[in-house]
Point group: C2
Chain length 703, copies 2
C-alpha cells in the first residue's frame, strides 16, 4: 500500500471543503464549523463558487483556485456534481477525498459510484466513502465530519459502517467515559475499505487498538490477510448474523453456513477479537487498547468482598478461563496481608476491611509472582474505605512491581466515588468496569487474543500434489451436458483427483455391466441410481445396500430402474452406480460453500444425527493446513468421539486432517466452478486405518 495517500487523507496538513455553505442548516456549513471548532491546526479552504467568506475563512470558487497544496478534500456537493469535483481534485494533486455525499450505490446508483472511483483512480486519488459522516481524530484535532464533536479522547480507533451509529457512539463516548482517538465512517467503501484502514492504522502511532462495526465486507480475504499481519489488536462487531430474512441453501453445508459461522471462522483465523454486542465493543476497545495479551490461563482474582468474588469466579468459567487455586507458596505469602478470616486461595479475598495497604501489598506481590499470568482486581464499595485510596494503592503497586506483559482489569462496584476512581484508573491505563463479570470478560478477551495470535502465526499455506486438470475436465463435461451439478460418480472422480479416499464407484449402464462391475469390486456392494434429475436418491427408491450376490444384483438393477422411472418418468438416467460397501466407521461430514464474502469455506462435523440435529460443525476459510484441520477436529462438541470413548479405539484423525486439508485445497482450486459441496457421510476408521468418502455432492456455480 502506498501510505502517502492515506497519510494525506487521514493526517492532512491542509483540507478543503467542497460544498462549503453559508447556510447553517447545510452539512457544508456544519463540516467547516466542526473543523474549526475541533481545533484543526492545518490550513482550511472552503470551496464554493457563490461565496467569498465563511466563518472567518476565505472561500475559493474551485479547488483549482486554492494557491497552496491540498492534502484532503471533504465533499458535500450533490451526487451528480461529485465526479467533476474528483476531476478537479485529481488535477490539483489532492491525496484523498472524504465523500460525505450520499445517493450512490446505497440507493441503487452503482454506476455513478463506479464512475467516480474510476475518475479518482485515473489521478491516483483515494476515496473514503461515499455516503459517510466523515472522519474524526483527536490527535489531528480534526473533526472532518458532520458529527457534532470530537469524541472523548482515547487510544483506540473505531471504524463504523453505519454512519448513524457512528454519530450516536461519538456522543456516547462522553456518557460512557470510554474515549477513542479516531472515529472513521467508512460508508459504501467504494475505494478505501476496512482492510486499507486497518493496514494504515496498524502503523499509526496515535492508536493502539482498532475496532470495527461491520455490516458486511466486500472482500473478506483481503481483510483477513491484513488482519493476520496486524501488530495491534483488531476488534470486530459483526451486525446481521441472525437467520431473519436469510435465504435457503442447496447443500447440507450451505444450510449450516450462516453469516455468524463464516464470519466467526474468518475472525478467528485472522486473530480478530469478536465483540458480542455494542457495550462489549466499547469494553473490548478500552481493554485491548490499554492492556497486553494474556499469555497463559493462570488468572488471579483479588477482591474485598465474597459476593463479587463469587460472581467473578462464575464469569471466569463462563468466559473460558476457569479459576485455579494459586500455589501453596503464594497462599502462604498472601496470608500475611489479610485478616484471619480472609482467603488466600483464589479468589484472594482481602475482606471488607481491606484498604490501601492490603490492596497495595497483595497486588504488588501477585502481579510479580511467576505463576500469575493475568490479574482481575475487584472492589466492592464500603462505607469505611475510600475507592480512590484503593485505586491509588493498586496503581502504586503496579508501578513499583513494574511487570510487563501481564494484563490487569478492574471492577469497582459502588456509587459516585467508585465511578470517579474507575475513571482515574482508566486514565492510568487500567480498564475498569462497573460489574465484576465485565472485568473478567475483558481479561478473557486478552487471553483469547493471545491464543488466536499464536495460531495465526502458523502458515496455512502448503503444496499438496493434486490432479487439478482431471477435476476441471470432469466439471467441463458436466457443463457441456448443460448441468449445474455433478452426479455422485462424477463428484467422487473430482474428489479422487484430490486424493480423497472414496468408495470405488463405477457406472453400470446395463444389468450385465452391473454384474460385471460388481464382481470386479467384490460383493457385498451398494447400488444407487445416477441421474442429474434425481438428487434425493433414497426418496426415489434409488438406493439398495448390502447386495451379496449376482441374483440380488440383477434384481436390484431392475427395481431401481423401475423406481426411478416411476419417480420421474422423463429423468435423464446415466445408469446405476456400483459401489464398494464400506465397512462401518464413525460418520463425519465434510463440506464447502463458496461464500459471497470469503470465497471457498470448509466445514467439518460429525455426521448423521450430530450434524442434522445438533449442528455440531465448524468452519474455516480455505485453504486449511493440516494443523488447522486437527484443530477443527478437536473443537467440535463431539470431538471426544473421534478421540475414542467407551473403550473404542481412537479414530484416524491424522488421515482425517489430511483429507480436510486436501478438500480445502480442492475448493480453492475449483472456486470458479464449485458453489457448494458435501462429502457425507465419510466413514472414519481406527487409527492407521484411514477413511472412506461414501457419498459425494458437488453443486456448480450457475454460469
Amino acid at each position: 500500500m502506498d501510505r502517502s495517500k492515506l497519510d494525506g487523507l487521514m493526517r492532512p496538513k491542509s483540507i478543503a471543503i467542497v460544498g462549503a455553505s453559508t447556510d447553517p442548516t447545510k452539512i457544508g456549513y456544519t463540516v467547516v464549523k466542526n473543523i474549526i471548532e475541533g481545533g484543526y491546526e492545518g490550513k482550511i479552504y472552503p470551496i464554493n463558487p457563490k461565496a467569498t467568506e465563511l466563518l472567518g475563512l476565505k472561500v475559493y470558487p474551485t479547488l483549482m483556485d486554492v494557491p497552496d497544496d491540498i492534502d484532503a478534500a471533504v465533499i458535500t456537493v450533490p451526487a451528480k456534481l461529485v465526479i467533476s469535483v474528483v476531476e478537479d481534485a485529481g488535477k490539483k494533486g489532492v491525496k484523498g477525498l472524504i465523500i460525505i455525499t450520499s445517493g450512490f450505490a446505497e440507493s441503487g446508483n452503482r454506476k455513478l459510484e463506479q464512475e467516480v472511483v474510476a475518475k479518482a483512480q485515473e489521478y491516483g486519488v483515494r476515496i473514503l466513502g461515499p455516503n459517510i459522516v466523515g472522519t474524526l481524530s483527536n490527535a489531528e484535532k480534526l473533526n472532518a465530519s458532520f458529527a457534532p464533536t470530537l469524541p472523548l479522547p482515547g487510544k483506540g480507533a473505531l471504524i463504523s459502517q453505519s454512519g448513524a451509529l457512528l454519530i450516536s457512539l461519538d456522543m456516547a463516548t462522553f456518557t460512557r467515559k470510554v474515549g477513542f482517538e479516531k472515529l472513521i465512517s467508512i460508508g459504501n467503501m467504494s475505494d478505501i475499505d476496512f482492510a486499507d484502514l486497518v493496514e494504515w492504522l496498524d502503523e499509526d502511532e496515535s492508536v493502539s487498538s482498532i475496532s470495527l462495526y461491520i455490516e458486511g465486507f466486500k472482500d473478506g480475504r483481503k481483510f483477513m490477510d491484513v488482519a493476520k499481519k496486524a501488530k495491534k489488536p483488531v476488534i470486530a462487531l459483526k451486525a446481521g448474523v441472525s437467520a431473519h430474512g436469510a435465504v435457503a441453501a442447496a447443500s447440507h453445508t450451505g444450510s449450516l453456513a450462516g453469516a455468524a459461522k463464516v464470519y466467526g471462522a474468518a475472525f478467528q483465523q485472522a486473530g480478530v477479537v469478536q465483540a458480542t454486542d455494542l457495550n462489549n465493543l466499547f469494553d473490548l476497545s478500552l481493554t485491548l487498547s490499554l492492556q497486553p495479551p494474556m499469555y497463559g490461563d493462570n488468572l488471579v482474582i483479588i477482591t474485598n468482598g465474597g459476593g463479587v468474588g463469587v460472581l467473578a469466579t462464575d464469569a471466569a468459567e463462563r468466559f473460558g478461563l476457569p479459576l485455579k487455586f494459586v500455589p501453596k507458596d503464594v497462599q502462604e505469602e498472601l496470608k500475611k496481608h489479610m485478616p484471619e478470616f480472609g482467603s488466600a486461595k483464589n479468589p484472594v479475598d482481602l475482606t471488607g476491611m481491606a484498604g490501601y495497604d492490603w490492596y497495595y501489598d497483595t497486588v504488588k506481590f501477585v502481579i510479580a509472582h511467576a505463576w500469575t499470568e493475568g490479574l482481575v482486581i475487584l472492589y466492592c464499595e464500603t462505607a469505611m474505605t475510600d475507592p480512590m485510596e484503593i485505586a491509588k494503592g493498586i496503581i502504586v503497586a503496579l508501578d513499583e512491581a513494574n511487570v510487563h506483559g501481564k494484563p490487569v482489569t478492574i471492577s469497582f462496584v459502588g456509587g459516585e466515588k467508585s465511578e470517579k476512581a474507575m475513571q482515574w484508573l482508566v486514565e492510568q491505563n487500567i480498564p475498569s468496569f462497573s460489574a465484576p463479570d465485565l472485568a473478567v470478560h475483558a481479561i478473557s478477551a486478552l487471553r483469547e487474543y493471545a491464543r488466536m495470535k499464536e495460531i495465526v502465526s502458523e502458515s496455512d499455506h502448503q503444496t499438496i500434489p493434486v490432479d487439478k486438470e482431471q477435476a476441471l475436465r470432469i466439471i467441463k463435461l458436466a457443463r457441456e451436458d448443460g448441468r449445474d451439478s455433478l452426479t455422485e460418480v462424477e463428484a467422487k472422480q473430482v474428489f479422487a483427483a484430490y486424493g480423497l479416499p472414496t468408495t470405488t464407484t463405477l457406472l453400470a449402464k446395463s444389468e450385465d455391466e452391473a454384474v460385471k462391475l460388481a464382481k470386479e469390486i467384490g460383493f457385498p456392494i451398494v447400488m444407487k441410481i445416477v441421474s442429474p434429475d434425481i438428487l434425493h436418491k433414497s426418496d426415489a427408491g434409488g438406493v439398495k445396500v448390502n447386495i451379496k450376490d449376482v441374483t440380488s444384483c440383477r434384481e436390484a438393477f431392475k427395481t431401481i430402474m423401475a423406481n426411478a422411472k416411476e419417480y420421474k418418468a422423463d429423468a435423464n438416467i446415466h445408469g446405476i452406480a456400483i459401489q464398494e460397501m464400506a465397512p462401518w466407521g464413525t460418520e463425519v461430514i465434510l463440506g464447502s460453500v463458496n461464500d459471497a464474502t470469503f470465497g471457498p469455506t470448509m466445514m467439518f462435523g460429525l455426521g448423521g444425527i450430530f450434524v442434522e440435529i445438533l449442528k455440531d460443525v465448524t468452519f474455516r476459510v480455505a485453504p486449511v493446513s493440516k494443523n488447522s484441520a486437527l484443530r477443527m477436529i478437536g473443537e467440535i462438541r463431539g470431538a471426544p468421539i473421534l478421540a475414542g470413548v467407551r473403550g473404542e479405539e481412537p479414530r484416524d484423525r491424522e488421515m482425517l486432517a489430511e483429507t480436510i486439508s486436501r478438500y480445502a485445497q480442492m475448493i480453492v482450486d475449483l472456486q470458479d466452478d464449485v458453489s457448494e459441496s458435501d462429502a457425507n457421510p465419510v466413514l472414519v476408521y481406527a487409527e492407521g486405518k484411514g477413511l472412506k468418502v461414501v457419498d459425494a455432492r458437488i453443486i456448480l456455480k450457475k454460469k
Copy 2:
C-alpha cells in the same frame, strides 16, 4: 404465615436500636443517624444503659424502659449479649428483630445462633439476620441499616445474601439510575429466609417486583412453593455456579448435577426469572417492576437506524425471540408514516429523519395492532432530532393507545441528551437501556416470565399407585447387609416396585441355576456379575452379552466367576444376574440426585455418547408430572432423535414420560434412603412399544 409480625418488622410504627452508641465510629451510632436522616416518621428509641441522649433523641437503658409499644428493634450489641436482648424484646412484645450483629453461624458459632432463634421463637418474635446490613425502604422512609443512604427510589425490592454487595449496590442505584423501593439484607437467615420475604413482599403494595441475590438457600423447596404462588415477578441472580472447588460425585447423574443445573431447574419450575449477571439483575428488576409479561412471540422493533435495528434483530434471535415480518396489512399502514427508503417489515425502520411525528404515529399504530405482542423502540441519536422530543412522542402514543398487557422496552444510543430522555422514560414506567441488545434482552425476560408462569400454573402433583413398602423392604435388607448401595438386581426390584419396566433379571447362585433361569427367560440372554464390591462390572470382565444357548451359558458362568475373583479376590459375590436381552432401542438415561438444597431431583437425557460427551441432560426438582416429563423430553438438544429422524419412527415418548414421572415419584418416596440413582441405559422403542431399563444403580444415603 402470620403477616403481622413481618408487618411490624418491615413497616414498624416504632423502632428501637439496641446498642445505640454516642461514638460516631460505631454501627450503633450510624444506624440511629441513618434512621433519622432517612426521614423515618415513626418513633425512634435508642437503647443504651450508659447514655441518656443521642442525636436529639432520649436514650433508654433497656427495651423494658421504653414507655410505648415497640414494633421492631435493630440489634447492634456484641454477639454474646444478643440473647438477653431477645429475651427483653420478647417480654416487651417486639414483633421483629433486625440483628446486624455478626459472629454467629457465619464464623462457626452455630450453637449461639440456634439459642437466639429458640429464644425468639419462645416469644414469637421474628428475626432478620443475624450478620446483616439492615433493611431499607423508601416507602417507609426507613434506613434501618448501616448502609449510607436510602437507595434511589424505584418499584422493585432487592434482597441480598451478601451485605457488602448490598451496600455497594445501594450506592450504585444513583450512578446507574435504577432505583429500588426496598433493599433487604438477609444474612444468615436464622429465621426469616428468602421464602418468607418473597411471600410478604408479594402482598406489599409498595413493590411490584422482587429481586434476589442468592448465594445458597437453606430450604429450596420452601422457596419454590412460595415463588410458584407469587403474583409478582421474582428475579434471581444465583452466585456460585462454577465448578471451581466443587466436589466429586458417586453416580453418573451426580457428576452432571452442578448448582447451575439444579438451581436453574428449580427457578424454571417456580417461575423465577434468572439474571445472568449483576448488570442484568438491575436491568431485569427495572423491566419486570415496570412492564407486563409478554404473552406471545410477536415482537415488533421500531428504529430510526439500520445499525441498531440489525443489532437488535441479532439479539432477538440470541435471546429466543426471533423476529418475524409483520403481516402485509401492517406493513401497508406503516408505509404511510415513513419515507420511501424506510422499511415497514420488521425491524420497522423509520430512517434517521424520524422525529416526534413518525415515532408517535408508528408506535400508536403498532402497539394497538392485534398482531403485536411486544414492542422494542430504538433511537440512534442524530444531530437533527431531539431525544426528549422522540421520548415524548413515544409516551403520548402509548398513553393514547391505552393498550394494556403488551410490554414495551426502549434503547436510545447517544450522549447526554439521550441519557436524560431515557431517565424520563423510566420515570414514565418504560424501561430504557443504553444499547439495543439490552432492550431486547429485557423484553425476552418478560416473554420467558409469561412462558414459565403458564407452566407453573399446572400442577405437578399426582397420585401414582406404587408399591413403596416393597421398595423399602429391599433397601432395608441391603442396609442389614451393611451396604450403602444396592446391587443391580436389587435396584431393578425397587424400580419394578414403582412400575418402571426393567429387563427381567434373576439371580443365579450356581451354574445349574443359571441354565435353569436362562431357559425360563429365554435365549438370548445377558449375564452379569452381582457383587456389592464390583461396581464397574465391565471393567472386571463381569458382563457377557448375547448368550444364545446352554453351552455358552455354562461357559460364561465359569468365565465371569473366574474374572471376578481375579479382579477382586475377596469380593462378596451374590451370584450372576441372568437377564433378558432387550432388543435394540434408542438409549436414554434417567437418574436422580438428592440435592442438599432441593432434595430429590430428577435428570433425563439421551444415553451413550450424548450424555457422556455432550452432557445433553435436563433436570427437574421432583415430583415431575407427566406433562413436565414431556417437556423435559422436548427440551434436550437431541429431542428430535426421540421425535423420529432420518425416516425413523418416533420413539414412545408417552411411555417415557410416564416412566420419568414414576421415577420421580420413587425418589420422592425414598428420599430418606436414596442418595443418587441411575437407570442407564434405558432402551426406548417405537411409539406404543414402550421401553426397558437395562441397567440400574441406586446409592443409599450413608447412615
